[in-house]
């Protein structure tokens, strides 16, 4: 590994390991809005100014290089392998994995600021798309809330429960009007659906068809009394608040167009 690159990677990984030992996995809540946005702007801003003013040029070149990208991609891949083999470790929530993603994001920022090659459109689509995707799924996760409520047919709910079992006010009332399900001959469900209403609106919710309640909140039908089948007296509804949803959608669109250009153009030499 390049010495300048090692100076950036090793101290950060060592620091994250120390934090991990002392504090355990970080509480995602501390990174919720506006902290996550401030962190993102600070990281991007500092790297932009350092690039423009040519401060620490050797160090920045090393951090922006394809060599650094290879190292950071390999590190992230190793992190994913740990998640795959040891899911109980929750490595994806650790300080060490956060440090790996921070390195990858820094490399992406610098690569975007410094690219001077010929294939600008493809390069920017892929790298900006990937950067936004990582940002929306990592920093954005701090603002995401996933809550569930078991609702009997005819009942109205105004609160749901987080994964930790804490009650959370929905800010509106939602009524479960009816539930129905269809089955194949072997009793595997072919479709199940619930009619719900709120604030004068009525919707049918089924798998793959959530109710887009607001710009950042969706309501999903996730379960029912499987023993009772179509006669189920209740449904399990999931309320998902994800303010970074459209950032992720924009990232996916950019990245998808970049991916099409990647397979269309193949390897192109500068």
């Amino acid at each position: 590994m390049n010495r300048n690159l090692a100076y950036s990677v090793l101290p950060l990984l060592a620091l994250s390991a120390v934090l991990q030992v002392i504090m355990g996995n970080p509480d995602l809540g501390i990174f919720s809005f506006p902290v996550n946005v401030a962190l993102l702007l600070a990281l991007g801003g500092v790297l932009y100014v350092l690039t423009r003013e040519r401060v620490g040029e050797r160090f920045m070149s090393a951090l922006a290089s394809a060599h650094a990208a290879a190292v950071f991609v390999a590190l992230t891949g190793i992190g994913c392998l740990l998640i795959a083999f040891f899911p109980k470790w929750d490595f994806q929530r650790s300080w060490i994995f956060a440090a790996m993603l921070l390195l990858l994001m820094s490399n992406l920022f610098l690569a975007i600021f410094r690219y001077r090659g010929r294939f600008k459109v493809r390069f920017y689509l892929n790298h900006v798309g990937l950067l936004l995707l990582i940002v929306s799924l990592s920093l954005g996760a701090a603002d995401m809330r996933r809550m569930r409520a078991v609702v009997n047919i005819g009942d109205t709910v105004d609160k749901a429960y987080t994964e930790e079992g804490l009650p959370y006010s929905l800010g509106y009332e939602l009524k479960l009007e009816s539930f129905d399900a269809d089955f194949y001959d072997n009793n595997v469900p072919s479709e199940f659906r619930a009619v719900v209403s709120s604030e004068g609106e009525q919707r049918t919710v089924r798998v793959n068809h959530p109710w887009r309640k607001t710009w950042c909140e969706d309501i999903y039908l996730t379960g029912y009394d499987t023993k009772a089948g179509a006669e189920s007296e209740y449904c399990i509804l999931e309320f998902i608040v994800q303010p970074w949803k459209y950032v992720a959608v924009v990232a996916i669109v950019l990245f998808a167009v970049g991916a099409v250009l990647l397979l269309w153009g193949g390897r192109q030499r500068n």
């Binding site: 990208a69 290879a70 793959n208 969706d218 996916i252 099409v260 397979l263 193949g266």
Partner: protein, 259 residues
């Protein structure tokens, strides 16, 4: 068209493809014959897939057997593209053997007769997600074969072909992953949930991105580059079916044929 007639189509397709592959090995044979025979093998396989789709009344992409079907088809197709584009005379033989292995598995494995389609799979993203992934697997299988050849054959350079195959395959992997992310948001509420299959997809993509960036550095050792392509293909096998053999797979939302 059902699984009962699959052996007839598969064996006929194998023989035609093998005929095309053998013709390609002999320089004196006109390459037209290898294209004709191999192309007929692909066409016959495609006819079975289309007929099977119609008779099932749903896309044949749910069970492991059905994804193997697509893999066998796309490996043949990817081999044909590589042969037409870069004229490696031996590549058709390897893709024929690889495709035949997966067809034979389908003939010998009985756990493929299931016509149900659970609600989570009833999505507009189902067909593009699975077919794009299977095509990527076929393309990357060709890159894997060339990397193996590169390890043993020190006289020839395979990097131009491997580069193009990896770029195309990785582009397809990205499209498969991105369509899967939007589908996951619609079905389960989040774009990414560290489900075992998602995690292995991320590992696989990291492998191929590592190769792409090592090539961009311009100073990576050739043997190591071949090894990265080979290991990435192994990781891809984990993503496709290998993860099911790990204890963590019990929590996976991608096991549709396990009640």
């Amino acid at each position: 068209m059902t699984w009962d007639v699959f052996p007839y189509y598969a064996i006929a397709s194998m023989l035609l493809s093998l005929g095309g592959a053998v013709c390609a090995l002999f320089p004196k044979t006109k390459s037209l014959w290898s294209h004709l025979l191999y192309g007929a093998g692909i066409l016959l396989f495609g006819v079975f897939v289309a007929g099977f789709w119609i008779s099932l009344e749903r896309p044949p992409m749910r069970t492991m057997g059905e994804t193997r079907l697509w893999y066998s088809f796309f490996v043949l197709l990817a081999g044909w593209i590589v042969y037409a584009r870069w004229k490696y005379s031996w590549v058709l033989l390897f893709t024929t053997v690889l495709s035949s292995v997966f067809s034979l598995l389908n003939m010998l494995k009985p756990e493929i007769h299931d016509q149900t389609l659970v609600p989570a799979l009833q999505s507009v993203f189902f067909i593009p997600h699975v077919t794009v992934y299977m095509f990527a697997y076929g393309i990357l299988a060709c890159a894997f074969i060339l990397a193996i050849a590169g390890i043993f054959d020190k006289k020839r350079q395979y990097f131009v072909s491997i580069d193009n195959l990896v770029y195309i395959g990785t582009g397809l992997l990205f499209i498969g992953m991105l369509t899967g992310m939007i589908w996951a948001k619609q079905a389960w509420g989040d774009f990414w949930d560290w489900d075992p299959k998602e995690t292995w997809a991320a590992v696989t993509i990291a492998g191929y991105l590592l190769y792409i960036h090592l090539r961009l550095t311009g100073n990576a050792r050739k043997t190591w580059l071949y090894v990265v392509v080979i290991v990435s293909f192994m990781l891809l096998q984990m993503c496709w079916y290998g993860y099911k053999y790990l204890p963590s797979s019990m929590d996976s939302m991608h096991l549709y044929n396990v009640n």
